[in-house]
Amino acid sequence: MVPIAKLTIVEAINAALRQEMERDASVVVLGEDVGRDGGVFRATDGLWEKFGDERVIDTPLAETGIIGASIGLALGGLKPVCEAQFDGFATPMLDQLINHASRIRWRSRGRFSCPLVLRFPYGGGIRALEHHSDSPETYYAHTPGLKVVVPSGPYDAKGLLASAIRDPDPVIFMEPKRVYRAIREEVPEEEYTVPLGQARVLQEGSDVTVIAWGAMVRECREALALTSYSIELIDLRTLSPMDTKTLVESVKKTGRAVIVQEAPRNCSVSAEVAAVLSREAFTSLRAPIKRVTGFDTVIPYPRMENYYIADEKRIAKEIDKVMKY
């Protein structure tokens, strides 16, 4: 009998970190408050006690330094898993990620590589301060050389993070903070991985394909209950490289697609999904591809963020419109 625990996403992430650190002595965790404090969301709880301060490192408050040094740690043969405390605080890291981490393998023609993981909680809905609610996946997904992973539930969170840590390339691992503790799932205590680059069909259906990732998967699940259509729900899981095969196959079957994201619309991941579907499934489409997204504004402070993030009712309404096209 395989031991199984009911874990939340944040507990599953903690379990993955513990598992990979036990498995591979070169894995080090670093960031602000990740050690003694166990991280502001407790994702690294207990790791410092178990692995000590050479492997679970409280750094100075310096995002550029954390990611820049992580690049150096990776070049020096370690596997850094660094944390940005919030989405909005990961922004200074973009310079190092775009100019260096993502292109070290490429520009050195394979001499060097940069196997690091940057984890951070993203998205709104927790009534946080400003700069604590962004969904910035587009910046990373647009950058050649980076992989971008967004789990939506505990089982995937553990398996995808393990894969990210074992991956030979830099991986951005965005954690849906709104559902950090909202979902409990059975998560095996034993070691397992979930491969990167593969979407997951959460529910099969024949009328319309709904595509989402991260926290919005929960809203989509709730929307399904509000409609009577046969809906195929796909969790993208890895935004880059994208599993277009699964998406295209599904839309060829259903002839309709609704893409749901929290991020602003302009030039976003949903646009790439829509472009792929319009190219690869054009003759199967029975309605225009629909995008349900955040607006092209800054995500509002908590008093108004519920208008910004699509809820299950808005998603259900849009599915209905696509069906009635």
Partner: protein, 364 residues
């Protein structure tokens, strides 16, 4: 109550003055052959530099950042490093990279629009870093990895005076201080960040003193004195390897050339200043020293120049005769394994080249 909590002083080191006179009390113990090696490496750097500039003017190579005048700041630190140590250059360290074993043709390839110039195996030198200051945290992280892996390896990183104004510099030095990392920070203060003079980068009297705020020593050395850059680096590397943490070395030097071949320094700086620095030339002063010691003669110089010319010419020949890279390379190294998207795009590009060929059109 008011009291003084901290006072500091900044050390300056010069061993060989601009007239080629050495302070014998500060001279490191070097054999004649070693002194000649310093000279020969600087001459290699100079000849390479002149050749690279000529190639660029003739359209045979791309934009290039000259090292002229900075040979002592390039070569001294390189020769102070042990084989196992690692060098993280910025982009004005060609002579340093060459002294550490990077081939001249690889550097020509890099400046000549070919990524393969960065693929230099079996030498502990990282590729050039262009964005300014962003390589400094890499060196700190690399040194950190060596420390955590219990390896007795020092990491040395170069950057310019402009880089000290950037955040990466501050965050990297701060981390290095906090974690006592075995890293040597070498600032080539050549007085100019393109057109902005040193005085406009920082109100601090020296750049070396910035180390003090991060809790470790900083020293300013005569950056045109190869013995001073060597000795300061040697000491810093020993400190690093003995577990005593980082050091910042400010090499006080001068950029004799334009910022790059795309720049015209006459627009913003006084020729008189350049002429003053010409008198402090690092190669000339070592030559004077060697002459006084009987280590330099006209025939030695002739033979050295001839040999170096030949070496550089051969590098140019190799650079220019290398077969072009394959278009696959553009896709192959983006990830460890090509993604389905990249495979598709590579297939498209190949097909597109074939199609335009068969219709007589050019691909670009």
């Amino acid at each position: 109550m008011r009291k003084t909590l901290a006072k500091f002083s900044v050390e300056y080191l010069q061993i060989l003055d601009e007239n080629g006179r050495a302070d014998e009390t500060l001279m490191p113990v070097l054999g004649d052959a070693r002194v000649r090696e310093f000279y020969e490496q600087m001459v290699r750097g100079r000849v390479f530099d002149e050749t690279a500039l000529a190639l660029q003017r003739e359209g045979r190579m791309g934009t290039y950042a000259s090292i002229r005048g900075q040979e002592a700041s390039n070569v001294g630190p390189a020769l102070a490093m042990d084989k196992e140590d690692w060098l993280f250059p910025a982009f004005r360290e060609d002579a340093s990279m060459v002294a550490r074993g990077v081939s001249m043709e690889a550097l020509l390839r890099y400046w000549g629009w070919d990524e393969r110039g960065n693929d230099v195996r079996d030498v502990n030198v990282f590729p050039v870093a262009v964005p300014v200051s962003t390589q400094i945290p890499h060196a700190a992280g690399f040194a950190w990895a060596m420390k955590l892996r219990k390896k007795r390896v020092a990491t040395l990183v170069y950057f310019g005076d402009g880089a000290t104004s950037k955040g990466d510099f501050a965050e990297a030095l701060n981390l290095a201080g906090v974690f006592n990392l075995p890293v040597v920070f070498v600032c080539q203060n050549n007085q100019w960040a393109i057109s902005v003079p040193r005085a406009k980068q920082s109100a601090a009297e020296t750049l070396a003193q910035k180390a003090i705020a991060y809790g470790f020593p900083g020293i300013q050395v005569d950056g045109n004195d190869v013995f001073a850059t060597y000795v300061a680096t040697k000491e810093a590397i020993r400190r690093a390897k003995e577990g005593n943490g980082p050091t910042l070395i400010e090499c006080f030097t001068y950029r004799m050339s334009d910022h790059t071949t795309a720049d015209d320094a006459k627009k913003y700086r006084d020729a008189k200043q350049v002429a003053e620095w010409e008198k402090k030339d690092p190669i000339k002063r070592l030559q004077l020293y060697m002459k006084a010691k009987g280590l330099w003669s006209e025939s030695y110089e002739r033979a050295l120049r001839e040999q170096t010319r030949k070496e550089v010419d051969e590098a140019v020949k190799k650079y220019e005769s290398m077969p072009p890279a394959q278009i696959e390379d553009m896709f192959r190294y983006t990830y460890a394994e090509m993604t389905p998207q990249l495979k598709e795009q590579l297939g498209y590009l190949k097909k597109s080249i074939e199609e335009t060929k068969s219709t007589g059109g050019a691909n670009r």
